[in-house]
């Protein structure tokens, strides 16, 4: 009887140890599976991405996209193209080619959920760090009549939405104004600028020759992320009216108020 009881207790202990062993094994397997799936879920990235809209007098624009290849899980590069049709789509540089569209023909643009995208395919041998430059022309991108503001200013605005599968590191959206134009005022940007939160604005105002430039950027733009700007430009060269007015007012003041120098003059 006593031996049977001991045997039963030993059996219970052995079963408990076995159960624990199985639980630990299963847990480790689950963790390993979780890590593996997390690794697989890492998003595709482009190490840098910039889109520069270079506006010519009359409103036509050349859009240049520069992308640096990062971590990609497929050879297909569908990059956002937010300008409708456009023309002259071409690859300037980089290990990419246009991919076939739905009809099997090579097509520079393809619609994804109704939104046009650059239809690119990485060529064999493409590696992280390679730079891709693509370009197209957008006729009538800027309507000068509709964009006219007070004092001869022109309003420019652009919104860029990341409809690709990539996380875009070091993203830049830029504008090159027509020759002779300069940035007059920055009306709004996304991301917005708040001096209390960030000491520096997310945009840079510059010049390239006689063209004003504007670039807004973010360190990382996830899929569905948005960058935008609205600004005014005006001719960099000033008109002669203030000079003439200033000279006339000065002369008038010096003549009319010459009695200010007399000792008895009151303020």
């Amino acid at each position: 009887m006593k031996a049977r009881r001991v045997a039963f207790m030993l059996l219970v202990l052995a079963l408990s140890a076995l159960t624990l062993f199985v639980i630990v094994l299963l847990d480790e397997a689950a963790q390993a599976a979780e890590i593996a799936s997390a690794a697989d879920a890492r998003p595709d990235t482009l190490a840098a991405y910039s889109e520069i809209v270079s506006v010519a007098p009359g409103g036509d624009a050349v859009v240049t996209v520069t992308a640096v290849v990062g971590r990609v899980s497929s050879m297909t590069l569908l990059l956002p193209w937010g300008y409708g049709g456009g023309r002259g789509h071409r690859i300037v540089n980089g290990p990419v080619g246009f991919a076939p569209g739905a009809d099997g023909e090579i097509a520079p643009l393809v619609a994804v959920l109704g939104v046009p995208h650059w239809n690119l395919r990485l060529l064999p041998g493409a590696a992280p760090g390679d730079t891709v430059v693509i370009e197209a022309t957008v006729p009538g991108w800027h309507d000068e009549d509709a964009a006219r503001r007070q004092f001869g200013a022109q309003a420019y605005a652009s919104t860029w939405v990341n409809t690709s599968r990539f996380v875009l590191r070091d993203f830049r959206l830029g504008l090159e104004l027509p020759a002779g134009q300069a940035v007059d005022a920055v009306d709004a940007t996304t991301p917005s600028f708040n001096a209390n939160r960030t000491p520096q604005p997310p945009y840079v105002i510059g010049r390239r020759g006689d063209r004003g430039t504007f670039t807004v950027g973010v360190a990382s733009l996830p899929p569905a992320g948005r960058v935008a700007f609205a600004l005014d430009s005006r001719p960099a060269r000033r008109g002669p009216l203030p000079l003439a007015l200033g000279a006339v007012v000065c002369v008038l003041y010096l003549v009319i108020f010459r009695d200010v120098l007399k000792p008895a003059a009151r303020a």
Binding site: Q150, F151, A153, A182, V183, D184, A185, V186, A195, N196, P199, Q200, P201, V204, I205, G206, R207, G212, D232, R234, A236, R238, P242, L243, G246, V249, C250, Y253, L254, F257, R258, V260, L261, K262, P263, A265, R266, A267
Partner: protein
């Protein structure tokens, strides 16, 4: 029966005191004519074309990289206005109106924004401060407080000036809003100035010292305490978030207080001896019989009247609301800002039957409000267009400070640039938001502990003493018409130099002991 001769003389003297203390004779809302000196006349004559020339040069320069054309226009407009405010070819309020018009017509800042400045809380605070001040003057409470102060400390001009410095230091510990402190002190300063013979019709050197030392006291006493102004707290937040160093109340107090005390004493000593020499006849009250007569007058005022009690209650309520601002949320469930606290006081003061003041008795200098509007519009336009940020960035870029440079030259440059930059700014907060991150970035680039440069730079924030446009209390005191923009600039620049030297000296010595700058 004819009264004794002595009694007649007494009555005449007391009548003269009444005349002196009657502030209704020189209203702040009236702009008195002043007789300019020869140099002032030339400055006025040449100041106008100089302002136009400054505008045209800056307007027609090629727009530098990093600056918008709108920002360039604002810099040009502000430069012209700055020249005109200093040289006064046209009245200061008119310069402000011209500046606002120029901002709109040159497309520097939108019309709605320019016109909207008149509704800013700072303008409201000014208006309400003058209503409360008028209440204290009308009920004679200001006269009673001033006479008590004079009787106690006013035997000589030096002691009364020192008393005001001490008063400012005490008030700054409790009331963070500088405009509120100016509002409290204004009626008392006006009465004291009158007793020493200074008025807006007849300004004298005692008055210049009194008003400008109070302007300095109100401003740089704020830098003695971390809670002395909102800008100080913003600077501390930047030092923590960007520099990684936490600055405690006592860290700030121990570092700043000796500098402020030294600055106060130097200003108190220098002002009446070097900047505006006080002649012997202005060194004591102009009233015949001196302090004894004042004492007699105070005695004659009798016990505190019902009106004075009411005024004290209304003003006391406002002061309590100002002092307890941090407790409002906890106790009341909502916050009462400095402006709304003054609003409550003004509403009670103007209420029929209950209140103490009729609208016609409120002495509000509207020309000052227009002057303030122009100054704020210019300052805000500089900020909104990014021009102020670009200017500061350009200064640091031009200095070309590179890694490997010794700490101390950088320290001296940072202190001097921060200190003198206030001349071109109309808001401490704006200056803090722009300068402190730059200073921290410079320190990080050069491999210094950000605290070494950022905290001493933060101690310069409240030194806004060179021009009436630099801060709210400056505008309020300028409304009294007892000193010119040039007077303010002269004394302010001298004390800015003194402050720079003091902070540099403290950096080499006291701050090292505290660990604020690198040790020996």
């Amino acid at each position: 029966m004819t009264p004794p001769v002595d009694a007649a003389v007494d009555r005449a003297a007391l009548g003269r005191i009444d005349e002196i203390l009657d502030l209704s004779r020189s209203k702040l809302s009236e702009v008195p004519d002043k007789l300019p000196t020869t140099s002032e006349r030339w400055m006025r004559y040449l100041g106008f074309p100089a302002g136009v020339a400054a505008f045209l040069v800056l307007y027609y320069l090629p727009t530098p990289s990093g600056l918008t054309t709108g920002g360039q226009v604002v810099i040009a407009c502000f430069a012209a206005a700055l020249v005109w405010w200093i040289t006064e070819p046209i009245p200061t309020y008119l310069t402000s109106l011209v500046l606002m018009a120029m901002l709109v017509f040159c497309n520097g800042w939108p019309e709605d924004e320019v016109l909207g400045v008149l509704g800013f809380s700072v303008i409201w605070l000014n208006i309400l401060a003058f209503i409360l001040s008028s209440m204290l003057v009308k009920t004679n409470l200001a006269k009673r407080i001033a006479l008590s102060l004079i009787v106690r400390f006013g035997r000589t001009s030096r002691w009364i000036l020192l008393a005001f410095f001490v008063l400012n230091l005490v008030l700054a510990a409790f009331i963070p809003a500088t405009a509120a402190r100016a509002a409290i002190l204004l009626p008392i300063i006006l009465v004291v100035a009158s007793i020493y013979g200074a008025s807006n019709r007849n300004p004298n050197n005692f008055g210049r010292n009194l008003f400008l030392q109070n302007l300095q006291g109100i401003n740089f006493c704020s830098s003695a305490y971390m809670t002395g102004s909102n800008a100080n707290l913003i600077a501390v937040a930047f030092i923590l978030s960007m520099g990684g160093s936490r600055v405690y109340y006592t860290d700030w107090l121990f570092a700043a207080m000796p500098v402020v005390l030294a600055a106060m004493l130097i200003s108190w000593w220098l002002g009446p001896r070097l900047v505006f020499r006080i002649p012997r006849e202005q060194q004591s009250p102009v009233v015949e019989g001196g302090i004894e007569r004042m004492q007699q007058k105070l005695h004659e005022m009798g016990p505190v009247t019902q009106g004075e009690k009411k005024a004290a209650a209304v003003f006391g309520l406002v002061i309590v609301l100002w002092i307890t601002d941090k407790l409002h949320m906890e106790v009341l469930g909502f916050e009462i800002s400095a402006v709304m606290a003054a609003f409550i006081g003004a509403v009670i003061a103007l209420a029929p039957r209950v209140g103490l003041l009729k609208w016609n008795e409120a002495d509000i200098p509207w020309h000052l409000m227009l002057f303030s509007c122009g100054a704020y519009a210019g300052g805000l336009a500089l900020n909104d267009t990014g021009a102020a940020r670009w200017l500061v960035g350009s200064i640091f870029a031009a200095l070309d400070i590179r890694p490997g440079v010794d700490f101390w030259p950088v320290y001296c440059i940072v202190i001097a640039v921060n200190m003198f930059s206030h001349i071109f700014f109309t808001s401490k907060t704006m200056r803090t938001l722009i300068f402190i991150p730059f200073v921290i970035a410079v320190a990080q680039n050069l491999g210094f502990d950000p605290l070494w440069l950022a905290l001493p730079a933060a101690l310069t924030i409240d030194w806004v003493i060179a021009l009436p446009i630099n801060a709210k209390p400056n505008v309020i005191l300028f409304a009294t018409g007892q000193y010119s923009v040039l007077d303010n600039l002269k004394y302010g620049l001298l004390m800015t130099c003194v402050g720079t030297l003091l902070l540099i000296a403290a950096g080499f010595t006291w701050f090292r002991v505290l660990g604020v700058t690198p040790g020996w």
